[in-house]
Assembly symmetry: C2
């Protein structure tokens, strides 16, 4: 069944996109996607995102060589989140880990009880696999 859906890019023109390893199913990263980034991803078969901090379109792996070949793009029920199913070269994370989600949370301590979340700390354990040396890949 084919259907048309309008993607809800919201007030800032972006939707979150989850990248998942096509082979292992591992969740690799989450980044944001503009309409142009989605179009470029679909056209080229390589994952494009929109950087909120640098305020620009970027192709994943352009600097590091760790590109993502997109096998499938999915859209969720509310059409406000995307899923990129990808073949990941090297590692997805700038820290050198295969996945950005390389830390497991062991404890949560909320800083105060008046609704201010800024003091919320978590105890984490590194459980991820480091697959490259970021200093070697991103050196100037």
């Amino acid at each position: 069944m084919e259907d048309d859906v309008t993607v809800d890019f919201g007030a800032d023109g972006l939707v979150p996109a989850v990248a998942q390893d096509a082979e292992t199913g591992e969740v690799l990263m989450l980044a944001y996607v503009s309409a142009e980034a989605l179009e470029r991803t679909h056209e080229t078969g390589r994952a494009h995102y929109y950087s909120r901090s640098r305020d620009e379109l970027w192709e994943k792996g352009k600097t590091s060589g760790h590109v993502q070949r997109v096998e499938e793009i999915r859209v969720d029920c509310d059409a406000d989140t995307l899923l990129y199913v990808v073949e990941q070269d090297g590692g997805a994370c700038h820290t050198g880990h295969r996945s950005c989600f390389y830390r497991a949370i062991d404890g949560v301590s909320v800083g105060d009880t008046n609704g201010d979340s800024s003091g919320t700390m978590v105890d984490v354990e590194n459980v991820g696999e480091q697959v490259f040396d970021p200093d070697a890949v991103y050196e100037a």
Copy 2:
């Protein structure tokens, strides 16, 4: 290696959280989490989120019975996204599908070229598995 991390809940006090099926690796949904929702999830072992539309904390499955038992919580490199690794009862999606990402994108057409993303349409194909009847589960 244990470490302390401050979760970056951002201006609106929320971070996106990806829920992944612990057994199959399937990406089930994305929703938003407040500091309180994270604390409750960690305390109870059941996934809690914060609804932006209803403006309230919610426990997944409270109405439908389709709860998520959280095996692990991960935090990403920038500490602004969470990953819930869960045992999912029934289906994660209110449409009756196992995953909210039940539609694959076959085509992308950007509405106009002046940067307005509101007209961006995608052609989708339903590739997901429906595991329950939403009318039966959510009836008044």
